[in-house]
Symmetry: C2
Subunit: 183 residues, 2 copies
DNA sequence: ACCTGCATGTAAAAGGTTACATGATTTA
DNA sequence: TAAATCATGTAACCTTTTACATGCAGGT
């Protein structure tokens, strides 16, 4: 049971999901490929942290829908009561930023322009997401789901994503303002 | 030559450094242990991206001080002209945040309080760092190093670190304000 | 016809962490 | 006296990515 497996339990604590859906949903918080998820789920099932039900589908391939067990909920509670380990961030742009002076400003600008676009696209997606999540429970954008609401976790995470995106956009724009257009 | 090796070249483009120093300096941007750095440096030396000089020390252990070669500078320029890959962030707290409703608010609060303290400590360190970096070239806090200044990279990175720290502090404080003190 | 999405899996390779190994000096 | 810092290295282990493998449905 590593961090990723607790992440899967965390997602399953709200809804039952297929391995494929789990893979898609965990991306923003803990990037992982299906090749990592599927064997982990098999292991977690053996450990009785999750169970699955085979769902036959006619239009799409059949799927295994996983649910958290009572034992899984216990694991989750225990995991929540120990402090979270430090975040790990690896960003190639930070390594490049340190030595941008070695190339022409036009080349440097491209790096930050494409990153800026990346964050602008993400911001759009998060904005839409927060609307759909809130409206799913009949809430508007000025409402805050209460602590015991099943939406609470998603809500605070989406707020974090929005704040982070905006900060990154701000930084990219500032960097572009201090790199000359040409020399 | 993977991303970490370019990161080492990036650091070496400014100063010659020992493996130990490289390990310490790359931490904020691309966490890596010495056990990963030393074999990589040996490989990079074989590839003629770097050279090293054995420096005997009396008070401390002897060290290998690495320098970037002309071939290394060429690699760096080429690497800078291709777009940076997407950043990868893995934060256990994000996984926990999604299911905090499963435990008592007091337990949840602890998670965010300790993370808040973590970022406050980091903010202090970055504030000191930016002062020492700027004053090393006789600049004050209102000055911005020019694009071709050897300080430019460090300066934009420290600004990013400050912005990110402040955003994270803001978010932790907000989360603590929406988690009840007790139920 | 070809690509994308849905859906599951395995195998090999690369990347990263922890542990083992050594040893002097300084600080608590 | 115990721990931390400086300094380098290897070996074992775990995590993550890439590639291999299959197959149907729907859109361009």
């Amino acid at each position: 049971m590593n961090t990723l497996s607790y992440g899967l339990l965390s997602l399953l604590s709200h809804h039952s999901l297929s391995g494929y859906d789990l893979m898609l949903r965990i991306q923003p918080f803990w990037p992982a490929k299906h090749s990592q998820i599927y064997p982990l789920l098999a292991f977690m099932e053996k450990e009785e942290q999750v169970t699955f039900e085979l769902i036959a589908q006619s239009d799409k391939p059949d799927k295994k829908v996983y649910s958290i067990t009572d034992k899984g909920i216990d694991s989750l509670r225990e995991w929540l009561s120990v402090p979270a380990s430090d975040p790990v961030m690896r960003d190639e742009l930070m390594l490049k930023a340190y030595c941008v002076s070695f190339v022409d400003p036009a080349i440097s600008r491209k790096l930050f322009v494409s990153r800026l676009e990346h964050y602008q696209t993400k911001l759009q997606r998060y904005r839409e997401k927060i609307r759909t999540v809130l409206s799913s429970e009949g809430l508007t954008e000025s409402d805050t789901p209460g602590y015991r609401s099943p939406l609470f976790g998603a809500y605070i995470l989406l707020n974090k994503a929005l704040l982070t995106c905006r900060t990154n956009i701000e930084w990219c724009e500032w960097v572009l303002s201090v790199i000359p257009e040409a020399e």
